[in-house]
Amino acid sequence: MSDKVKVTIDGISIDVDAGTSILNAARQIGGDIVPPAMCYYSKLQGSGGKCRTCLVKVSKGSEKDPRPMPKLVASCRTTVMDGMEVQNITSPEVVEARKGVVEMLLINHPLDCPVCDQAGECHLQDLAYEHGSEATRYEFERRTFDRIDIGDKIQLHMTRCILCYRCVFTADQITNNRVHGILGRGDAAEISTYIEKAIENDFSGNIIDVCPVGALTDKTFRFKNRVWFTKPVDAHRDCPTCSGKVTLWYKGEDVIRVTARKDEYGEVEEFICNTCRFDKKKTNEWVIEGPRKIANHSVISANHYEQLGPPPVIRKNPALLEANKEQFERSTKL
């Protein structure tokens, strides 16, 4: 008996393992038909289903029971059935519902991208750009919270949070002592420790990486630079606590940030420890592997950090061309 089931998403068929979610089947196909996901995180058990951005239409339930599903479903938490047919970007209903979800996620978001460290690698930015409207119809005061430090390395800016719960799952599953959680309810719910306290744990820094927005940021990188001006380089070290496989973010010759390596969906490949993240910021502490490939849709890749061919604006200007060459040599000399 074959354990593979056939699913068709926006007209593209693929055979996947039984038990795969629609979202992961779509990721195996790749490209435009992959639904966006703000709360689902494949490495975190129990995540997903909450943000509703990955809603899709199941137009045929399965070969056995071809009835369509009555409502749009969260593709991250719906398992494929053999013969299932799914519509994502080919369904106007899905496109409209997703636009609605994006609008909801944005009505209380501060839109402070110009001063947010996450800008440039923010999933909400990408989502709004790809699936949202140009303007909001919300005319009321937005929800705000005070910024708080949860320890000396991590800042929580709750105003930006979209309540994806990823950081809570991370603390539960990666660390051994969760001290923060979701407090309150409804639109007054917030991530908090309730009583002011530091989140101290060898792996606590991972909550920064899993945060899809700028709600949890690295204080050691705060206001240091815009991410699109920095150059990601894969590196590793022999770390007793974690795999030691990281991405170093260079500005000139300085490592100004260390993160886990993230795949094209923004998910970390392996969680890293706080020592690697916060304390190892010298090039000589690392073995450099090479430039980190960043997905094309990200603004980070717009600075062409990994190729010789400079962007057209530079190509036309001899002075800039020279400067770019220098910059490139410096960053590849590492």
Binding site: Y194, I195, E196
Partner: protein, 178 residues
Amino acid sequence: MLKISDTEDVIFSPELLSKFAEIVSRYPEGRQKSALLPILHLVQAQYGWVSSIAMDKVADYLELKPIEVYEVATFYTMFFLKPQGKYVLEVCRTGPCSIVGAERIMKYIENKLQVKEGEVTEDGLFSWRGVECLAACGMAPVLQIGPDYTYYENLTEAKIDELIDSLRLKTVDKPQIN
């Protein structure tokens, strides 16, 4: 977020602890977290509110992380996370109560007690707040007073006067939940 935890220590009496134990015994082995809501009710009945110290003690008793208790206590609206008046008048303000005068009753209570919603009277006896549907719509307007959650139904201004006066006269402690 609290800057520091509350300072007043909380020590559960042996009677209270035996009630806790009875509650825990209602659930399968290892599912003692189920006892959290009933225990928080008992704590609130005892102390009038649920302090952070009390929550930490409950967490300790049920072998939970403190944050698990904070998450739950802040989700449910019945738990007071700040000290309240001895008698908290909770007036239903939802649809069916609203159309037969709940707002008028709340205004009347506010004027009579001379405190705003959520505040405590100077003598420490009363606070009041509007709450959502109490499932007594046929007897609207209604209010409830914990910790035994007695309902006062078909409210009028005269009934409020009578209720508040009788509570003022009452010197004995509030009955506790079994």
